[in-house]
Symmetry: C2
Subunit: 241 residues, 2 copies
Amino acid sequence: MINNSELKYIQSFAHKKHWAEESAFIVEGPKMVQELLRSDWTINKIYATADWISGQGVLPVPVVEIDEIMLKRMSQMQSPHQVIAIAEKQSFLKALPYTQTLTVLLDGIQDPGNLGTIIRTADWFGIQQILVSEDTAGFYNPKVIQSTMGSCFRVRVESTNLEAVLASNPLKVYGAVLNGQSMYETKIQSSGFLIIGNESKGIGSSLSKYITDPIKIPKFGNAESLNAAVAAGIILSHWKA
Amino acid sequence: MINNSELKYIQSFAHKKHWAEESAFIVEGPKMVQELLRSDWTINKIYATADWISGQGVLPVPVVEIDEIMLKRMSQMQSPHQVIAIAEKQSFLKALPYTQTLTVLLDGIQDPGNLGTIIRTADWFGIQQILVSEDTAGFYNPKVIQSTMGSCFRVRVESTNLEAVLASNPLKVYGAVLNGQSMYETKIQSSGFLIIGNESKGIGSSLSKYITDPIKIPKFGNAESLNAAVAAGIILSHWKA
């Protein structure tokens, strides 16, 4: 049984104050929870319908059975599905060596859906770590977690001072800017940094001065700009092509 | 002054029954309304704050001044900005010749934000027309219109029976499918069809049988799939590269 304070605790993840400050975070739906179970992240507790539980083997975490009505009350989704997990946040104290991998830097991405989609896209193209500026949307925002479709458990995402990272690691820095060279004529190397800028303002001046290889995605039509996640996907695809 | 029935009429665009069946649609914010004014779409009326009005010249449409409180009441946005326009829907009776352009077909895209972002991305790469299946999200859904960032006024988007179009136009048909050939090894021609499938189910069997060139975006990491708009952007970029 769920008591009222437990229900309130879970419902509170809808509020920024809670998801930002709590040491745990919320994960919803069978697909996401399956990805979580496969990962090395610590799960505190799972709340699930009898349906979901009956499809699982023995689980190494406490599972509480709930009915559909309770699921609806707990969930932040419009159409909740079967299961909600509460997992422990992780922090990555040590970055992978910047000389051995392409690290994506996100400079002030505001929309949680964009951030989640960028993490998912980066995972598709084999990016292992993403550093986000302190003014980027919060990683543990449930909307970010859900829109990664599970990639949040695989790609290392850390909020940090991006300028300090760039200043102390003199490597190739690719960044999409208005006056860059056509991406199609630029070979992106297998290590270094790729900066993706804010949805409307692009890459801020404190970071843009570190760009060694300014690139742009050539425009053939009339849209003023591309969505940040779409732009990230296009550049990462070009990197791998 | 706005009377109550006019306010109710505008507020009703939040509901599907209204935006789907009404002959007009709603456009919000200075950027979107600027794009609308530049286009050949017919504007019925503009509601705007004194601020916005003072920045315009003589406008060829009725403009009603409203205050911030009324703007907030009319708007569907969390933070409404300055102006709301009501414009007339258009229908495109005649398609551009399929032999002279690459036409994008959308098979059951469900998420309004995805649909809008695909239209915006297509506009960036010079796509002039998009045909959407009848079960795709509604074009005039305000969430679609807003997320096109103005591209909805430039790209022709029409809901139609996609199977009938493919059956009667034996051209190259590119479609992203699981067992396709690597996109990087496929040259996409300048005319024909490119099908983008539903977010979770992909391209349905009624259309997939028309695909002449099955392609896939190679995966280098572990994400299970790509967002539909990101995938569309990657394929269109490859088309132009």
